[in-house]
């Protein structure tokens, strides 16, 4: 008798919590018929996490998708751990965040065939600035180049990842100088080192340095974008204006689908994100707050773009010997 009660409780339990975990009945024709996993291949609190959670929040608040979405953090290995995880999930029910830095993590991701993933949409573009400290004595890129000409490998640039290192390499190649990249964990750490006078220059996105730029403690010397940015960065010329025509870079932020996502589902999500980027919440809480370029690319445009961008990044990285 006791055993029977026990098994009865057990069955109830298994069934009850299985249901509570968000599994709905199969058989309905409409997509989605089960919980969608939005994988963030980074830890809570970072840029990818903010993006993943904001997108999910907007979708749910505006009822853009008739189903449940959960955000799953899978940090580690410059997105390799998360991507590996996505490969093992149902492609039609898995989305994840992607950006140029993750696309470049080629060496880490060498075991993963990233072409298996399905490009869904690019949601924004981020700009990159070349900065110096207010009392460093450098007032323009010309100052930097003439100072660096005399002493190769002396002047230091704080970089937070390989993308920043690529940006430094572009300047070096174009101007015929040798600036030296010093790796930091984040742009805010390299900005701290800049303020403390431990390094000469730093590379950061606008939202990572706007406070210090407005107060005048950090001075933007140039932008990698091909148009000038808004205030307080408006005084910083583009590298192209200065005559370094091959120094140009913008970082994309996008959403990818799992391996083997069907074309209908890909289209479905591309349309969903097209609606997301039109919402007020997206514009104020993401684009404006982070000073991004509000450039949206649907699946058919982003697919080819992603392949080309990823290839170019890898090539550039190989050219400067980043992976030696």
């Amino acid at each position: 008798m006791k055993r029977m009660i026990f098994s009865a409780i057990l069955v109830l339990f298994v069934a009850g919590f299985g249901f509570a975990n968000g599994q709905t009945e199969e058989g309905a024709d409409s997509y989605p018929s089960k919980t969608i996993e939005f994988v963030v291949p980074a830890s809570p609190g970072g840029g990818s996490d903010t993006l993943g959670r904001l997108l999910t929040d907007i979708i749910q608040k505006n009822d853009l998708v008739d189903g449940n979405i959960v955000v799953v953090n899978k940090p580690g290995g410059a997105s390799a751990v998360g991507q590996q995880y996505v490969l093992g999930r149902d492609g039609n029910y898995t989305l994840f965040t992607m950006n140029a830095a993750h696309a470049l993590a080629a060496r880490a991701n060498s075991g993963i065939d990233s072409m298996k993933f399905t490009p869904v949409a690019a949601v924004a573009m981020d700009n990159v600035l070349f900065l110096t400290g207010a009392d460093s004595g450098y007032r323009s890129i010309d100052d930097v180049v003439s100072a660096a000409k005399g002493k190769p490998n002396q002047l230091t640039v704080g970089v937070a990842d390989n993308l920043d290192q690529l940006c430094v390499a572009q300047i070096n190649k174009s101007a015929g100088i040798e600036l030296k990249g010093v790796y930091y964990d984040s742009a805010s750490e390299s900005n701290a080192a800049l303020l403390g006078g431990h390094i000469d220059f730093s590379i950061a996105n606008p939202n990572e340095c706007i406070g210090q730029v407005r107060s005048g403690d950090i001075v933007p010397l140039a932008t990698f974008n091909n148009e000038r940015l808004e205030a307080p960065f408006a005084d910083a010329p583009t590298f192209q204006e200065l005559g370094y025509s091959d120094v140009e870079f913008q970082m994309f932020r996008s959403v990818m689908g799992g391996a083997g996502m069907s074309e209908e589902v890909q289209k479905f999500w591309s349309d969903v994100f097209a609606q997301v980027v039109e919402t007020e919440q997206w514009k104020t809480q993401y684009i404006e707050k982070k000073m991004l370029d509000p450039k949206f690319m649907p699946a058919d445009e982003y697919g080819p773009y992603h392949r080309q961008a990823a290839k170019r990044l890898q090539q550039d990285a190989q050219d400067i010997g980043l992976f030696d």
């Binding site: 701290a192 403390g196 406070g211 980043l322």
Partner: protein, 506 residues
């Protein structure tokens, strides 16, 4: 208007029924999250952040700072009660806190932890109120060379901390450093190191499964070794009255709290340092400079006091570079600030000038959050103590479950669960062969910072070690390191000579 008036205005903004309610609610949530192994600190705040989206700015800041403080307090609880530190600074608290629980003085340990957290936190807030901007600029002087020297000082002191055998302590620390090198090297184009070809290891080893395994699992294994069927405290009756600190306790902990607050607060200002380095260095400092030093690690109330006050002072210290310069000093501060930025706030040196009402509101709410937390912390001591009364036969499987679920939740990964179990077994074997376990964990936490700064320093100097000696701060720190390394030798030489002189006299 001077700082004081601005602060008063900040209080004025903060005081209202809803805000006080929220402060208490946030404190409770923060305490719970902080005390849950696997969810402390960053993850906890990140997960609770969405709850503030619907509040008005001032209320939300108060809520968040109460959560932040609650986290700092809570990390110590599970360390003291179950020997499973809720976050990494609590490793130091557990060193003395858990032995105290076993001796039936768990309530005292909790009380001391609360009081020290409160004093440390308050000290931090007061320095922030008065000297904020000045201190932030001193923190900036710590570049790669200085940080390297500071961590080196900390690492060499791990050796003397704990363990009867010096060489085993060193091996334990070195093993922790080796473990920390697993994963992608972010400083060299993303080269995977010591991953043995697996993708899972590319992300490196997470601290939480490691600490849960090495403390929590071994804890249950030790527990099963003993025959008695009693609770964790081997049956001693616990009463709330016993947990109150008497005059002599207060006397014992006041100096350690002062040391912890000052040192911890200072380390909090340094970019990239943090609570673990703070509580660790303060603990070692107290051990080296006080009479009770040799007994620390065996259940001394001073150990709990110094590490908790340092940890909380550092947590507030991390706000100094954040508010004055826009540079976050700790991961939790980053997440918290992410939440504050929801209201169009821009971190940076102009914050104090342009958004002074907000900043002083925040500082005001820190005082409120801190007071709310100590009140809650003291009130829940009886409930926490009842955990100690649960019989072994029930608490043991529960600890195992918390270990498993906690290890799983940090990355939602079953690999971490397996890793946690493995780490527990290895730590159990090592512990039974006289290898101290805390040095492994501390070295593991400090090593990445050490590696990054030493490599940065050499990159800047083009390989010349002179960089460490030309800068005054790092030169002094290195001098101290060498002095401490050689001091056991010197002491033994001097005592030998003394003995010889005595013998000659005889």
């Amino acid at each position: 208007m001077n700082n004081f008036e601005l602060l008063m205005q900040g209080f004025h903004t903060a005081f209202s029924l809803i805000n006080l309610t929220v402060a208490i609610g946030g404190g409770i949530l923060g305490l719970l999250v902080g005390a849950t192994p696997g969810l402390g600190g960053v993850t906890g705040v990140a997960l609770l952040l969405p709850m503030t989206f619907k509040m008005d700015p001032t209320t939300a800041i108060i809520f968040l700072s109460a959560i932040y403080f609650g986290n700092m307090y809570g990390g110590a609880y599970s360390g003291i009660l179950l020997n499973i530190p809720g976050d990494s600074p609590a490793v130091m608290t557990a060193l003395d806190g858990y032995p105290m629980s076993k001796q039936g003085k768990g309530g005292k340990a909790l009380f001391a932890a609360n009081v020290s957290s409160f004093v440390g936190g308050t000290f931090g807030i007061i320095t922030l109120t008065i000297f904020g901007p000045v201190l932030a600029n001193i923190g900036l002087k710590f570049g790669p060379a200085e940080i390297t020297a500071l961590i080196l000082l900390a690492l060499t002191s791990i050796g003397w901390l704990l363990g009867e055998e010096f060489s085993k302590g060193i091996v334990a620390a070195a093993l922790g450093i080796l473990l920390s090198t697993i994963g992608i090297d972010s400083m060299a184009g993303g080269m995977p190191r010591y991953t043995f070809g697996t993708v899972t290891l590319m992300g490196g080893i997470s601290f939480i499964p490691l600490v849960i395994g090495m403390f929590g699992m071994t804890q249950v294994m030790e527990l099963m070794k003993t025959k008695e069927k009693d609770s964790l405290t081997t049956g001693r009756r616990l009463s709330v009255r016993e947990s109150l600190l008497d005059k002599s306790d207060v006397k014992r902990i006041s100096l350690p709290i002062l040391k912890g607050s000052v040192l911890g607060n200072f380390i909090g200002f340094l970019p990239g340092a943090g609570g673990t380095a703070a509580s660790f260095l303060a603990y070692v400092f107290d051990k080296k400079t006080s009479k009770h030093g040799k007994d620390m690690g065996k259940g001394m109330i001073e150990g709990v006091a110094v590490s908790e006050s340092a940890n909380n002072a550092a947590a507030v210290g991390a706000f100094v570079p954040l508010l004055c310069l826009g540079i976050p000093g700790s991961a939790t501060a980053v997440v918290l600030f992410g939440g504050l930025m929801m209201w169009g706030l821009q971190p940076g040196p102009l914050l104090f000038v342009e958004q002074s009402e907000f900043v002083w509101g925040l500082i005001g709410s820190m005082y409120i959050g801190n007071v709310a937390c100590i009140l809650i912390g003291l009130m829940i001591i009886p409930f926490l103590m009842s955990i100690l009364k649960i019989p072994k036969g029930i608490i043991a499987p529960m600890i195992v479950v918390i270990c498993i679920v906690g290890a799983y939740s940090i990355n939602n990964s079953m690999f971490d669960v397996w890793f946690m179990i493995g780490a527990g077994v290895i730590a159990f074997i090592l512990k039974n062969n006289n290898y101290p376990i805390p040095p492994i964990l501390l070295a593991f936490v400090l090593a990445p910072m050490f590696e990054q700064s030493i490599r940065r320093a050499f990159t800047i100097s083009n390989g010349s070690p002179l960089i460490f000696f030309q800068k005054p701060i790092s030169a002094v720190l290195l001098g101290l390191t060498i002095f401490f390394l050689l001091s056991p030798l010197l002491v033994s030489v001097i005592t030998k000579r003394k003995n010889r002189i005595c013998e000659e006299k005889n």
